[in-house]
Symmetry: C2
Subunit: 203 residues, 2 copies
C-alpha cells in the first residue's frame, strides 16, 4: 500500500482511490485466510470488497499482486528492528534478538494488513516460491542497514552474506513454525535457528 | 530438458521432439549470452533455431521457461557433489569443499546447456528474482541429501537450515563473482564465503 505523503494533502479522489485499494486488500486477505490463497478468485474478492473486477485490475495486475502489496513495508519493518538492536556487532549472534522480535511481531501480534499478508506468504506451503520474493526484500533491507553502519559507502561482501544467512535462519524458523504442531513460540524458534546456525558453523 | 528413459526406447517422433527442444534451448542460450536475456525475443530464438513460434510454445510456456528448463538437473548436480564429499559431517565446514567444486564446474568448466543456463541465471543482475527459484531447488536437493544420510526418515530442522545457509554462501559468492572485476576464481570465492559465514557466527 502506498503511504500518503505527509506534506502534500490528498485530493478527495486520491483518498477514495486509497480507500478502495485498502478495501480490496482487506477483502482479499480475509478470503485467503479463510479458504486459502489458491481457492480464492478475483470475483470473490471484488464481491466482498463491493467493487467491480475492472476496479480491482486498476489497482492490482493479478491476485498474486495483492500478496506483495506490502512487501516493501515488511522489509522496512525488519530493517527497523535491526537498526534499533542493542548489540551493534555485525554477527549472527547480534541479529538473533531483533530477528526474533520481528518474527514475534509478524506472527503473534500481526494486526496490520501488511503483517497479515507477510504471515500468509511465509507460512503457506503452496506459496513457497512466492515467499522467495519476501526473502530477497528482507536480504536487501538488512544488508543496506548493515552497510549504513559502516564507514564504507558500498555494501560489503560480509554485509550481504550476513543478511542472507540471517534471513535463512528466519525463513527456516517460519517454515518450521507452520509445518507441525509446535509448542515453542516463533520468537524462541527464531533464536534457536540462529543458535543452530552458529553451531553448524563451528562444530 | 527431460532426460530420456534408458529402459524404454524413444520413438522417432519422441527423438525429433527432444532434438527440437534442444535446438530451441541452444538458440535461446546463444541469444541470451550474446545480447542479454531481456533484449532477446521469442522471434529471434525461433529464427535462430529454425522453427516456428508455435513449435516454441509447444515446448515452453514463455521465454523465461527456457531459463529453468534444466534447473532440476542443476540441483541434482549440486546434490551429487555433496553426496560424494570427503568430510561427512553435517557442518558448514564440510560443505565448503563440495560447494566450491560445484561453483567451479558451473562457472569455469560450464560446457553443457544446463550449466550455461544456470550460470546465466545466477550471474545476471536483472535475473536476481528469477535466481531465487534456483536457490530453492538447491536448498531442497541439499537438505534431502543430508536427510538421506541420517537414520531419521524425515528432514530435520538442522538439515533444512544447513542447506539454506550453505546456499546463501554459494549465491553470495556467485553474485560477488559477477559483480566486479575479481581476480579470485569462483571456487576460492565460494570457500571464502563459507569461512566468512563461520566467522560471522562465532566472533
Amino acid at each position: 500500500m502506498s503511504t500518503p505523503s505527509t506534506t502534500t494533502p490528498m485530493s478527495q479522489r486520491d483518498k477514495n482511490r486509497a480507500r478502495t485499494r485498502r478495501d480490496i486488500e482487506t477483502a482479499a486477505l480475509e478470503m485467503f485466510e479463510t479458504q486459502g490463497y489458491h481457492a480464492t478468485t478475483v470475483d470473490q474478492i471484488t464481491r466482498l470488497a463491493g467493487c467491480s473486477n475492472a476496479t480491482f485490475f486498476r489497482h492490482f495486475r493479478s491476485k498474486e499482486d495483492v500478496l506483495f502489496a506490502n512487501d516493501d513495508a515488511a522489509a522496512r519493518e525488519l530493517a527497523r528492528f535491526v537498526d534499533e538492536r542493542v548489540d551493534r556487532a555485525h554477527t549472527l549472534g547480534a541479529l538473533a534478538e531483533p530477528f526474533a522480535a520481528y518474527a514475534t511481531s509478524l506472527l503473534v501480534e500481526a494486526t496490520s494488513d501488511a503483517q497479515r499478508l507477510t504471515r500468509l506468504v511465509m507460512t503457506t506451503p503452496d506459496l513457497e516460491a512466492r515467499s522467495l520474493r519476501m526473502r530477497l526484500k528482507w536480504e536487501h533491507a538488512v544488508s543496506r542497514t548493515l552497510a549504513s553502519e559502516s564507514d564504507s559507502d558500498r555494501t560489503s561482501f560480509d554485509d550481504v552474506l550476513l543478511a542472507s544467512l540471517a534471513v535463512s535462519c528466519l525463513s527456516t524458523a517460519l517454515w518450521r513454525w507452520q509445518e507441525v504442531d509446535i509448542s515453542d513460540d516463533v520468537g524462541t524458534l527464531t533464536k534457536a535457528a540462529f543458535e543452530s546456525a552458529v553451531r553448524l558453523g563451528s562444530r
